[in-house]
């Protein structure tokens, strides 16, 4: 039987987990890199940014999915952008109310969540074609994957660059912080290193599979 590509996907563990590892928005699809590099100079900023993006991702996913039969096809992208911008404005004001220090640290990048391609990409590719529950679960998975990626960078950069983790000092007084890691170039370097690592793991796994196949053929 040929599967109809437009048929809604059944809800399952995969709906949630694909965003975390297999289709991780940052490490695999390389989307939304701007905030990933810009606000990860401390682990705390990375976590806050990840949560803010997850909130927008989930809310806009649910709303787009609810309105998927109402929005005419020709103006869908514009409508999605307006929906996303609404939730970003809410987030922006909420963060200002919760912690002004955090708001200053994140700077314009809270408002720039609007143009984060992950959110528009999910709205267009998933939420507009699936039921509300599916869209919610999928957006949550993507959000967790994004937050995970931000934390990966934030933790490495904070530990190496200022010798602390979530503002707790880790090393003795003789530790000389590696300042380049909290500066812009450090962001590029750390992300490149994570990509090297993941590509190494993936290549190694593929090679092992290949060898196993060869062995079983020989036997």
């Amino acid at each position: 039987m040929i599967k109809d590509p437009r048929a809604p996907e059944p809800l399952g563990w995969k709906t949630f987990s694909q965003g975390i590892w297999k289709e991780n928005p940052v490490f695999v699809m390389l989307l939304g890199l701007c905030p990933v590099l810009a606000v990860t100079n401390t682990a705390m900023n990375a976590l806050a940014m990840g949560l803010a993006t997850t909130f927008v991702l989930v809310c806009s996913g649910v709303l787009v999915s609810l309105l998927r039969k109402v929005i005419p096809k020709q103006v869908r992208i514009a409508s999605y952008i307006i929906i996303i911008a609404t939730f970003v404005t809410i987030t922006d004001y909420a963060i200002q109310a919760i912690s002004l220090d955090l708001y200053k640290a994140l700077g314009a990048f809270v408002q720039l969540i609007v143009v984060n391609c992950i959110i528009l990409g999910r709205a267009e590719a998933y939420a507009s074609k699936n039921t509300v529950v599916n869209a919610l679960v999928n957006a949550l998975g993507m959000g967790v994957g994004f937050t995970f990626a931000l934390l990966c960078l934030g933790v490495v950069r904070e530990v190496l660059g200022s010798g602390t983790l979530f503002e707790v000092t880790l090393f003795g007084p003789s530790f000389q912080p590696w300042a380049v890691f909290v500066l812009p170039p450090g962001g590029f370097f750390v992300l490149a290193m994570w990509l090297f690592l993941f590509s190494y793991v993936r290549k190694r796994r593929a090679r092992i599979q290949e060898l196993k196949k060869e062995v079983s053929h020989a036997a």
Binding site: L33, T89, V115, P184, A192, F196, S199
Partner: protein
Amino acid sequence: MQPDSLTFIFLNAFIINNFVLAMFLGLCPFLGVSGKIKTAWNMGLAVVFVMLVSSTCAYGINYLLVRFNLEFLRLICYIAVIASAVQLVEMVIKKFSPALFRTLGIFLPLITTNCAILGLALFQTNRDYNFAQCLAFSLGAGFGFTLALVLMAGLREKLELAEVPDVSTGAALSLMLAGLLSLAFMGFAGLGG
């Protein structure tokens, strides 16, 4: 140099706080279309153009919003106006200069989702620039983006011929290069004093 003189604003956005290499704005096109110098140059020009237009629009919109106490609508208005301005610019260029349209081609619509454009509009609002300062800022940011893109494209063209280990091909290698470029640009940091 005076911190709010036009020259300083231009230089600041152009090299000191380069949009791509120091502020991480517009990374998607930076990694996506920096394969060839020629395309990089065209993309850069398109961005300069759109930045000028959207910066002007954003200045006007902000004036109106502040006048009527509607600042909370700023983000929604900016993004809607930028998207339609790009569309309009595309249609005008297509009508009056098909040659230019062919050069810019697919890059114009792509620019709408470039965070450097929205970032520019937000920064100029946050810093309370007047109209002339806005223009200097957008020109500096646009040419800074072009500079980063063309430099990166030049490096990547050379890199095609280099022999690199198997695991380090593709995006990871480009990011490493971008990191080195960014390190080099940090040298300009003292320029503004």
